[in-house]
Symmetry: C2
Amino acid sequence: MAKTTTHIALVCPGGPITQDLAKKTGEIAAARYGDSVRLHFHSQCFLRAGHFAGTDAARSAAFLDVANDPQFDAVWFARGGYGAGRLDENIFTQLADAARNKTYLGYSDAGVLLARLYKERIGSPVHGPMPTDLTRDGGDEAVARAIDYLVQQNVDALEPAAKSGKKTAAFNITILSHLVGTQWMPDLAGHILMLEDVGEYLYRIDRAMFTIIADHGIKKAAGIMLGRVADVPENDRPFGQTEEEITQYWCAKAGVPYLGRADIGHDAANKIVPFGGARIS
Amino acid sequence: MAKTTTHIALVCPGGPITQDLAKKTGEIAAARYGDSVRLHFHSQCFLRAGHFAGTDAARSAAFLDVANDPQFDAVWFARGGYGAGRLDENIFTQLADAARNKTYLGYSDAGVLLARLYKERIGSPVHGPMPTDLTRDGGDEAVARAIDYLVQQNVDALEPAAKSGKKTAAFNITILSHLVGTQWMPDLAGHILMLEDVGEYLYRIDRAMFTIIADHGIKKAAGIMLGRVADVPENDRPFGQTEEEITQYWCAKAGVPYLGRADIGHDAANKIVPFGGARIS
């Protein structure tokens, strides 16, 4: 990279993080890149307002602060949880040129913002690990992968199918089902769409696929790949299909190609998926 | 009514019921109306295929059987659960004239079918109790109310706001959020939309409202009324708003009038809400 130092700003569009988590994230970055990377945690990350990291207004303002600040190369969402969809709609009309040159990295609930940014063609939205992954087993590895990608656009960090340079996108299944039919939903026609989830009953995965596969763009997707569907609670009776059979069922019903498993999920192995495809140099 | 006997057919588009539940439902009907009401439980109600009351094909065929049979005055969904959205799309092109003169009664997951029937202008879809409510406290009362409505179109069974004859509709919040953006979603412009839910975290209610309020028809609804949101699990931190404040928040954000509480819910007091409004005689 031409610049000597990569500046990464962090905000929380959903739930808050702790100062301790910020410190640990900074230590991983420093250990890998020393002074050539700097993490800037916005003070909003540590606010608390009920379920959220500050009020909707505070979270909206913090996002605008970092997106519009030309000193930052990337905006890294520090945590998902829930809340990105409550940001003020008008922030998307207030994003300046500086916001258009940035990478935006996160997943899970932060996928709501990635979706909208992608729809509005603002910057480079990317599905990948967040600092809050440090609370998982092997989370250091996930966070290191995200930093490697932000600093070096490291190809090794990419999900294998994303290395092709083909149009890609990745979402949490539950989150994506809530975007369908809203003004936040991007057109995913022609994309390889990767999906993952955690902590949902299989009937809920199936129900979310009912909605996802109804989307006009997704009906014209290049195909769907299934990431990990983890920590599925046991129901009062077995569902009768695995998560892969569920995905194949809905793909077949809609005539969308099922392309196999993707290396993404709510876990340490979660790989990077740039929206629209990786720029392979 | 002109006919001496009301014939009610029962099917299960989602989960199965037991023979015992069918028997108890029949006893309540007989105690109230003797020979002037007859319940016809389709054998499909008792099938089991994984999560469902038989395969998608079996459930689709059973629904067509009873909808297209001119001897039946009404189709009563015996249970929700999950599965109505997996019925074959082509059933809606195979519904005959006999299907157009019927009342279709149910709620929860069965709301998916009510939605599609309403969208296709087939028969009279009605939101109200089902035989499976007998497993709840006071369920006899709910089931008796449903039978009273099916036999007599009893006005006392109606939700108070539905007694006005105004255009109404009612849905489970989670189910409706999954219909938005799909070919199952009816146009609810001009309607009083009543919403209820059970067993969901408040952040999930909030997330579902994000999707619901984005729907083009609902943005033009006459207003939203909130039924009961029951059995909300405790989260790791308080959400910070009640279910009513959540509803008011999203209504205000979208400019949809909030019209107060509705007398519906996953409980014995669940009142009847005819889609499109009650025909008050």
